[in-house]
């Protein structure tokens, strides 16, 4: 090691930079205490009370203030956070969590199991839609003593253990919120958690300032003295800020995808798409399967053959992410590549399928005209819509793009008022939480992020149902493999890309992404080189 390093150092400045970049992961460096971490936050969160608002930016900031029982490794293994131990009973109905001792809230009040019960049984069911889904499966939450919490389920639901990341299950101080109007509590403006950083100041439109929690329950942590989240609304300014080192880190979609390769290639910056395993974002072209001729599976297969997913990843998403192959992201549990029906990029095959349907082109070469609703989340998705429109025109399908702002898009998709649109959903680790909701017929609802496609298959319903309640992992895998085979054959949607969201950070920053929730992590172990 030292030999290699020496040789690189001889090459001068450029060599030194390269050597630093190459050898850092291997060099066991001692963490340095102190320093200020500057992170971009965009868009500015509306509020930092994580129990009330769970938008991405809120999670990233509030994840340093609030904590939950567990966190997760990149392989989605549960890891201790506030809980030191946890245990599932054999029948899969009871979960017992042992809590860390000596934890205090930022205002000095002691943290106990009563706070956990209050958070999960009172506060979150009222304010947090995702937790509400979890809560509906619970028979009771009890605290036998100050450091033990017991959850009892109505029915076995092994995915329960995946529900305790900080964005899904933040712990809320009972002594502040009990008996108040949660949404209207003034304390929402000055969040109090148990995390390594305390809320200090929020200068709207400019920055959010967090400072070190000196009474943090992990000895000697956090390393950092303070964190600034800088609000930079303009994409180009964000790129410039990262490039010039004015901030240490960007996350999620802070940097427009087209700019990522350039920044990633800079010697002072590091880029990773890890840290999103818990969310497993999967992007697709969503069909309204009630609409002719989309209701014919051959049409959907033709569309799948007409879209070159490699081109999409390489040229539209600038290489960030991977081509999607089926309903379960490869980062999510229980994905089975062998069970999937594959579709190559093949315009001839696509045309054949449409011919087979009897969908003949008219004099203008158009077989059918359909509406395409782009996802209003920025340029990349605009380009994807333009690309899709063009590719569909190659197989005689005229897709008219109906641009809409975010509100209109949400309303129209929820109202099933579309033919085709784009969408991407988080999977939250387990198919029972984030995958089945899009395909089971129970969830055909006039609400965003449900089975708005109107896809129905009894066997699919049955398999998802069985898998959700199955305690034995092997059996669950069998169910999920079969469901993946059926879904890739019937194509309720055309899966396009496993999105890769870049975290770009200064090479001097350590431990920026260590778990499946990436930059939403507490950052108690993050440190910066001098």
């Amino acid at each position: 090691m030292s030999h290699v390093t020496t040789r690189y150092f001889c090459k001068g400045v450029l060599g030194a930079a390269a050597a630093a970049a190459l050898s850092l992961p291997a060099m066991a460096q001692d963490p340095v205490d102190g320093g200020t971490l500057n992170i971009i936050i965009n868009p500015e969160p509306p509020i930092l009370m994580l129990g009330i608002n769970q938008q991405g930016p809120t999670q990233a900031v509030a994840g340093k203030i609030y904590q939950s029982l567990l966190t997760y490794s990149k392989e989605l293994e549960p890891q201790p956070s506030i809980a030191t131990d946890w245990e599932m009973s054999e029948d899969g109905l009871t979960y017992t969590f042992t809590l860390e001792e000596g934890v205090t809230w930022h205002d000095g009040e002691p943290f106990t199991a009563a706070d956990v019960v209050f958070s999960y049984d009172d506060f979150l069911p009222e304010t947090h839609p995702r937790w509400r889904n979890v809560h509906n499966r619970l028979a009771s939450i009890e605290a036998p003593d100050d450091h033990t919490v017991v959850f009892t389920m109505e029915e076995p639901f092994p995915a329960f253990l995946m529900s305790f990341s900080v964005d899904n299950a933040p712990l809320i101080p009972k002594h502040i919120y009990e008996g108040t109007d949660y949404l209207d509590n003034e304390a929402n403006q000055t969040p109090i958690g148990t995390g390594p950083f305390k809320f200090e100041e929020w200068n709207r439109g400019s920055y959010i300032h967090l400072v070190r929690n000196d009474d943090y329950w992990k000895d000697g942590l956090p390393h950092l003295d303070e964190i600034y989240f800088h609000v930079i609304p303009d994409a180009a300014s964000r790129a410039a800020a990262v490039e010039t080192g004015q901030v240490h880190m960007s996350r999620a979609e802070d940097i427009e995808f087209f700019d990522v390769p350039r920044l990633a290639g800079m010697p002072n910056l590091e880029m990773t798409t890890e840290g999103w395993e818990m969310y497993g974002p999967l992007g697709w072209l969503e069909f309204n399967t009630r609409v002719e001729p989309i209701d014919d599976v051959r049409f959907r297969k033709a569309v799948m053959h007409a879209l070159d997913r490699d081109f999409i990843v390489e040229n539209i998403f600038f290489g960030l992410g991977n081509p999607a192959t089926g309903p379960i992201n490869s980062a999510t549990l229980f994905q089975d590549p062998d069970a999937l029906v594959e579709y190559d990029y093949n315009l001839d095959r696509a045309n054949e399928l449409l011919d087979e349907m009897g969908l003949e082109p008219g004099d203008d070469g158009v077989r059918v005209s359909l509406r395409l609703l782009p996802l209003p989340y920025g340029e990349t998705w605009d380009r994807l819509a333009e690309y899709t429109r063009q590719q569909l025109s190659e197989i005689g399908v005229d897709a008219e793009i109906e641009a809409a702002d975010a509100g209109t898009w949400a309303e129209r998709v929820a109202d099933w008022d579309y033919d085709m649109t784009f969408n991407y959903l988080y999977q939250f680790g387990d198919p029972a939480i984030g995958v089945s909701r899009s395909y089971i017929s129970d969830n055909i609802r006039r609400t965003l992020f449900t089975n708005t496609m109107g896809y129905e298959n009894e066997r699919v319903d049955e398999l998802f149902n069985l898998a959700a309640g199955e305690v034995d992992p092997e059996k669950r895998q069998e169910y999920y493999s079969e469901v993946q085979q059926i879904l890739t054959d019937e194509l309720p949607v055309a899966w396009l890309i496993e999105l890769g969201f870049p975290t770009i950070y200064d090479t001097r920053v350590h431990n920026a992404v260590t778990t499946a929730i990436g930059t939403n992590e507490t950052y108690d172990d993050v440190w910066i080189e001098e």
Binding site: E256, F258, E386, Y387, R389, Q390, E402, A403, A404, D405
Partner: protein, 280 residues
């Protein structure tokens, strides 16, 4: 007619403008022959600078679409929006101005207050809001531009009517019992047309600029290639690819310039007594 042309041709800028404008119109008309492929089609490698790939002499965009094809097809949208929205705006403006100027009194006050009210709201902002509310499409863009453009026409026509309505030939028409509508349409309007034509020609230029701004902000019709869209889409990669935003912008510049020059020529030819003062 000959006199008109002589006066027009005396303004060399106007002749130059006319030549350019004819060129742009020809480009729009023959876009499908010059560039038979759809301008949305990815015909080359992405990010190719001008001339780097044969057949893409203005380069390609982020997805490998030909910039030159985009400019040719984009000319259609610009000209279409420019002409139609101006026609609508002139229609509204002429009616409002004629009514106000001819009848005067309370009607005049009401119409002019309404016009003033419209002029108070910054037109770019109003246009953007309208397009967003009506949902972005070629129709909504035309309507929005027409709605923000009519007040100057109304004021102009009102002014003309105020002076013309007391002239002898109008009085004469009134004496022989012609109806108000008939007097407006056959007596006054034809005589106030020259300044309206000049103003309209300049409004086409403004409309093209406004359309491009709307498209630049991402509120354009997504199914139609337009110059503003091309700049808006290329804005973020300006560091890496100057040509993607430069050429469409230059196309707007040269087209609007040409229309303005032609407008000045029209002014010289139609309003010889005003020509000396230049445009205000």
């Amino acid at each position: 007619m000959i006199e008109f042309w002589t006066r027009f041709a005396r303004n060399k800028g106007a002749v130059f403008g006319l030549v350019v404008l004819v060129g742009v119109i020809a480009l729009a008309a023959f876009a499908h022959m010059l560039f038979p492929q759809s301008p949305w089609r990815m015909t080359g490698a992405p990010f190719q600078p001008p001339g780097a790939q044969p057949g893409h002499w203005l380069g390609t965009d982020t997805l490998g679409r030909d910039i030159a094809a985009g400019i040719a097809h984009g000319a259609r949208v610009s000209i279409l929006v420019g002409l139609v929205s101006t026609a609508v705006a002139v229609g509204i403006g002429v009616i409002a101005g004629a009514v106000a100027g001819y009848f005067g009194g309370l009607i005049d006050t009401a119409v002019m207050r309404f016009t003033e009210f419209f002029q108070t709201i910054p037109s770019v902002v109003l246009a953007i809001v309208l397009v967003a509310i009506l949902q972005p499409s070629i129709e909504s863009i035309i309507i929005a531009i027409a709605i923000v453009s009519w007040p100057p026409v109304a004021r102009l026509v009102r002014g003309e009517f105020l002076t013309l309505r007391t002239r002898e030939f109008v009085e004469a028409a009134r004496v022989i019992g012609q109806s108000d509508t008939r007097i407006i349409l056959t007596q006054i309007l034809p005589n106030s047309l020259s300044p309206v034509i000049v103003t309209a020609s300049l409004m086409v230029a403004t409309a093209i600029l406004l359309e491009s701004a709307i498209a630049f902000l991402g509120l354009g019709d997504r199914n139609m290639m337009s110059w503003g869209y091309m700049i808006g889409a290329a804005r973020t990669v300006i560091r890496e690819a100057w040509w993607m935003s430069f050429f469409p912008g230059f196309a707007i510049f040269i087209t609007v310039l040409a229309i303005n020059l032609v407008g000045e020529g029209l002014n010289d030819a139609l309003n010889p007594r005003l020509a000396r003062q230049g445009r205000q």
